[in-house]
Amino acid sequence: MSVRAERLVIYVILVMFCVAVLLPFVSILTVALQAPGSTVTGLALPDELHFDNFRRAWTVGGFGSLMASSAIVAVVVVPTATALSILAGYAFGTMRFRGSTGLFYLLLIGLVMPFEATVVPLYYDLRALHLTDTYWALILPQIGLSVAFGTFWMRAFFLSSPKSLLEAAQLDGASTWTALWRILLPTARPAVTTLATLFFLWSWNEFLLALVLIQDPDRRTAPAGLGLFVGERTVDVAGLSAGALIITLPVIVVYLFLQRGFIRGMLEGSVKG
């Protein structure tokens, strides 16, 4: 086979895999755009675009208030977890202190451990503290687990940043605090943006904790609402699809805006780590 033909085959294969990625989303999009009440099948283009299902999901299905809860949780989790990760990663990456190896290994547990391992005691302990059915029940564990990865991530960044930068700052008599915020952090923008994006995605998409720890519909997050919606109204496929697309929209927007740096950051970061 000539190089040209070979290349063409590879492109065709890549396109097919991309189509396969998009197919399920196109399928629920066509369903959500149908007129309410019409019988629908997997992939049927609607005659005209109806946005009634989206309107219904927003008001009747309550996806508006579900999204608000998700937003509140994310707005607290993302900046807090990012700040704490920067601080801890700075210590690991630039300072020597006793117990650093031990503490680092302790941190690795959180890198691998999923919420599935701790959700049972989290529920019973937070209930005893009257924290279930509050946003804190989601915010605090999410920050805790995010910080493990974030510290690891920022440590890698600070280890790879030029030593001369920090030494120059110290010679100038800058405190560690000034050196961090004035000198090192301005160079860390790509790493911090990727980290914050990841934290946002994890927080926005988190399902198990939200399902277990929040029973109050007013504080329920979007994924949990969608998950319960599946159980309750399996018949209303159009409304369900509209809801699924509504809660995906913020993620898609963030992804499309930041994806170049995001994918590169993730690939480089994960391969380095």
């Binding site: 801890a88 650093s100 503490l103 399902f207």
Partner: protein, 287 residues
């Protein structure tokens, strides 16, 4: 120096406090609860290793671990293989326009698994896209309601795992393969290496780090899998698709068998740690 040490601890303190209180302490509490018989309401009683003994005798729980093995194949092994095949095909070429493919292929990584589950439930229904496609290629006779089928529900959900992960593996390996020094391929070709030897001796060693990363990410996702199964089948029909995480949820919050739920959680966590540790070790040794 002493002062600098103290400063380091100050920087660590806030992050570690939250991590300790909401990750490590609950994890220790999971281990502790796994030695108790407790319904979540009354006072628990210490039962030693009894929950672990019950775990080994519980058909549903055991099958959930077997299903986790099936998910491991679908979510980890198959995507890595697909990615490697593509990387091998691509290794001889420098393609343009990869950025667009990358953006699309990576998409399942950023979307909530609950949303993925909702979309695939619809794909697999009686008149969903999967059956439409089967009819279109003349395989209408095998069409069925996939997620309600005792035999086919597990591979059907497993394939969703493949769908979620193949893009990640491809993007990882494509990025990796473009970094391999092209002169290595030239040397191999001068030595008369065919495509297969070239793959085994140049591409595969060059991608070792990327393979380790892909295996780690996909394995953790495969073993912890809760969202996808909960939304698509909730473990059904019967127990045909249940996984350890769904069992933890069912035992801990539906059946008030907190001790057994925690025992399952401990075993699952140990399993994940062991697999990840092994992958990391192997990746390092071969270096």
């Amino acid at each position: 120096m002493r002062r600098r040490q103290r400063i380091a601890y100050l920087y660590l303190l806030p992050g570690f406090l939250v991590y300790l209180a909401f990750v490590l302490v609950p994890l220790a509490h999971t281990v502790e609860l796994s030695f108790f018989e407790w319904d979540g309401i009354s006072v628990g009683t210490w039962v030693g290793l009894d929950n672990y003994r019950r775990l080994l005798g519980d058909g549903t729980v055991l099958s959930s671990f077997a299903h986790a093995g099936v998910f491991l194949v679908f979510t980890s092994i198959v995507p890595v293989m697909l990615g490697l095949v593509l990387a091998a095909a691509l290794s001889r070429h420098r393609l343009r326009g990869l950025a667009v493919f990358r953006t699309v292929l990576f998409l399942p990584q950023v979307i909530a698994m609950v949303v993925v589950g909702v979309a695939w439930r619809w794909m697999y229904t009686d008149d969903g896209v999967v059956n439409q496609l089967l009819h279109a290629v003349g395989l209408g006779s095998v069409s069925r309601a996939w997620l309600g089928d005792f035999t086919w529900a597990l591979p059907a959900v497993g394939l969703v795992g493949t769908w979620v992960m193949y893009g990640l593996c491809m993007v990882l390996f494509l990025a990796g393969v473009q970094k391999i020094d092209t002169s290595l391929y030239e040397v191999a070709r001068i030595d008369g290496a065919g495509p297969i030897r070239e793959f085994l001796h140049v591409t595969l060693p060059g991608l070792r780090q990327e393979i380790a990363v892909a295996l780690t990410i996909t394995t953790i996702a495969a073993l912890r899998n809760f969202d996808l199964v909960y939304v698509t089948t909730n473990g059904g029909p019967g127990n045909a698709t249940t996984v350890p995480a769904v069992e933890i949820y069912r035992l801990g919050f539906r059946e008030g068998d907190v001790g057994l739920a925690c025992a399952v959680a401990v075993v699952l966590t140990l399993l994940i740690f062991t697999v990840v540790f092994t992958i990391t070790r192997l990746a390092r040794e071969e270096r």
